[in-house]
């Protein structure tokens, strides 16, 4: 029997993260608002050159209207926002999510599941407390719901709209939007709790450096040592802290448009929210794969709270020793 090690799944994760990062195009360009200019030329001709210069630079004037931004005749940023969202984020996100799934599938076909090297001893070790699991599954379920509803806002008009009657389509999208908007803040609370609860496990040590140096086990035969969490898991934690909080903060800015955010602010935060959440989803695919199909015996840990002794020894040897030592005392 071929000996497979848990490092494989973590490298899988690294590979797909790389794919995702490469697939997401950098959005750096400036485009003139050609269409706005044409529309404006056509509908407000005969103005002086000075005026045009001002209007095309989005200069504000005076108006009796109280709508936010109403004093600006032409909001020139709209054209570029449209391009970034439709030309870059939309296809970029599809490439990132598709690429992530493809990379995982390929990895699964090439390497397969990481099996337990030694048979189960039947002795079970507690790994995740009731609280840990509650937080994990709370965040995970909200993440999936927010992901599906968010992706609907971004993509559903391409595949769902053509097959649904207009009235059903309208209700589905209204539900998606409301669910997304109301569950968002609840997700934020969960993520915060998770970050606080697991903070203490996630400092990088020399052990993690060696773990990375061995590519999580893919380079060389020996399984690299790991404590309670291995290097890959710690990276995922810090991805949640950075990218996850970016999603949360940008989401909250969008969620409460009643603080007088300008259109330009909302454009920016929509771009940040979309890009960050797409990266997070693409990475989450990897996390989900490793935690379920990719590693024999990993899922039961988060489901029941307990892992088998053999699993602990194989994947988290230092932690296993620690637990054994403690229980002997």
């Amino acid at each position: 029997m071929m000996v497979k090690q848990s490092g494989h799944n973590h490298s899988a994760w690294m590979i797909l993260l790389l794919v995702v990062l490469m697939a997401l195009p950098v959005t750096a360009f400036a485009q003139e608002s050609a269409d706005a200019r044409r529309e404006a030329f056509q509908s407000m001709p005969g103005t002086q050159p000075d005026f045009w210069r001002d209007a095309m630079q989005g200069v504000s004037g005076r108006t009796q209207s109280n709508s936010p931004g109403a004093d600006t005749l032409i909001m020139i940023e709209g054209e570029r926002w449209r391009e970034i969202r439709n030309q870059w984020i939309s296809p970029g996100g599809a490439i990132a999510l598709g690429g992530s799934l493809a990379a995982i599938t390929l990895f699964y076909l090439l390497v397969g599941q990481v099996k337990l090297v030694h048979p189960r001893t039947g002795k079970r070790i507690e790994r995740w407390t009731r609280w840990d699991r509650a937080i994990h599954w709370y965040v995970a379920s909200l993440f999936i719901i927010l992901g599906i509803t968010g992706l609907s806002i971004l993509y559903a008009k391409w595949f769902l709209m053509p097959i649904l009657p207009t009235s059903v389509w309208g209700s589905v999208m209204n539900a998606a939007k409301n669910i997304h908007n109301y569950l968002g803040p609840l997700f934020a609370l969960g993520v915060l709790a998770m970050i606080v609860k697991w903070f203490k496990h996630n400092f990088f040590t020399m052990v993690d450096l060696k773990w990375f140096a061995k590519g999580g086990g893919i380079v060389g035969k020996a399984h690299p040592s790991a404590g309670y969490l291995n290097g890959g898991e710690k990276v995922w934690y810090w991805v949640i802290v950075t990218v996850g909080l970016t999603v949360v903060v940008s989401g909250l800015v969008l969620d409460f448009p009643n603080f007088g955010q300008t259109r330009e602010t909302m454009q920016l935060f929509l771009i940040i929210h979309a890009v960050a959440s797409l990266i997070l989803m693409a990475a989450a695919f990897g996390h989900i794969y490793i935690g379920t199909l990719g590693t024999e015996g990993a899922f039961e840990g988060m489901k029941t709270g307990y892992v088998d002794e053999s699993w602990a020894k194989q994947h988290h040897d230092l932690w296993y020793e620690e637990v054994k030592h403690k229980s002997k005392q």
Partner: protein, 214 residues
């Protein structure tokens, strides 16, 4: 096929807000919703002040339509951009893409959540069979009655024109020709006549050309 367009002649607009009032009256829009507005640039600066009446321009390649997550906009055969409030989710994307700040939102629900988007329909109503419901949801459908938008009809100086783009552009070209030189009857602004006229003429040509392509 007609291609409906607005045209606001800045040399004539006197910032009376009559169009704004007319619109509100014709469409009985919700509290806080103002489909049309007048923007004055360089307010109070003699010789520079310019006012323009703006609402939805019914763009040819409409940015709102391109970004709407529910694709609730549809172009009519008159080249108008109308939308379906049943599918609108009030996300505000159309407002973020629109160069002219046309989409408006009633504040409904908790935490400033937006209600269904509302904007100028060129007084052409919306997608409802029943005229009563149509009027409640989208305002007047004057086009169906063979009338033009009320804002333009009520404009006291006829600065705001609405109608088939070719006709509207023709009227404007005629004006430019008559106004001719500096200090002519309607030209309230002293400026380098040659420059501005040249620009106005080319703008009028452009407007005219644009109508020929549809």
């Amino acid at each position: 096929m007609a291609r409906m367009k607005f045209l606001c002649d800045s040399e004539r607009c006197i910032e009376c807000n009559g169009c704004v009032t007319a619109c509100k009256n014709a469409n009985e829009t919700e509290w806080g919703i103002q489909r049309r507005r007048v923007v004055t640039l360089d307010d109070g600066e003699i010789g520079k002040e310019v006012s323009i009446s703006v609402a939805c321009m019914h763009c040819s390649d409409a940015p709102c339509m391109a970004v709407c997550p529910t694709d609730c906009f549809y172009p009519t055969e008159d080249g108008l951009i109308l939308h379906n409030k049943d599918t609108c989710i009030g996300c505000g994307y159309c407002l973020y893409a629109c160069p002219f700040g046309a989409p408006q939102f009633p504040k409904q629900g908790a935490f400033g959540a937006r209600g269904k988007m509302d904007k100028c329909t060129f007084c052409a109503g919306g997608p409802e069979e029943d005229p009563v419901i149509e009027e409640q949801k989208y305002g007047a459908n004057r086009l169906r009655e063979g009338k033009l938008p009320l804002c333009a009809e009520m404009c006291s100086t006829k600065a705001l024109l609405a109608g088939d783009a070719a006709d509207v552009a023709d009227i404007f070209r005629e004006r430019v020709v008559y106004r001719g030189h500096r200090n002519s009857a309607w030209s309230s602004v002293e400026h380098e006549a040659s420059d501005a006229e040249q620009l106005a003429k080319s703008a009028a040509d452009l407007a005219y050309d644009a109508t020929q392509s549809v």
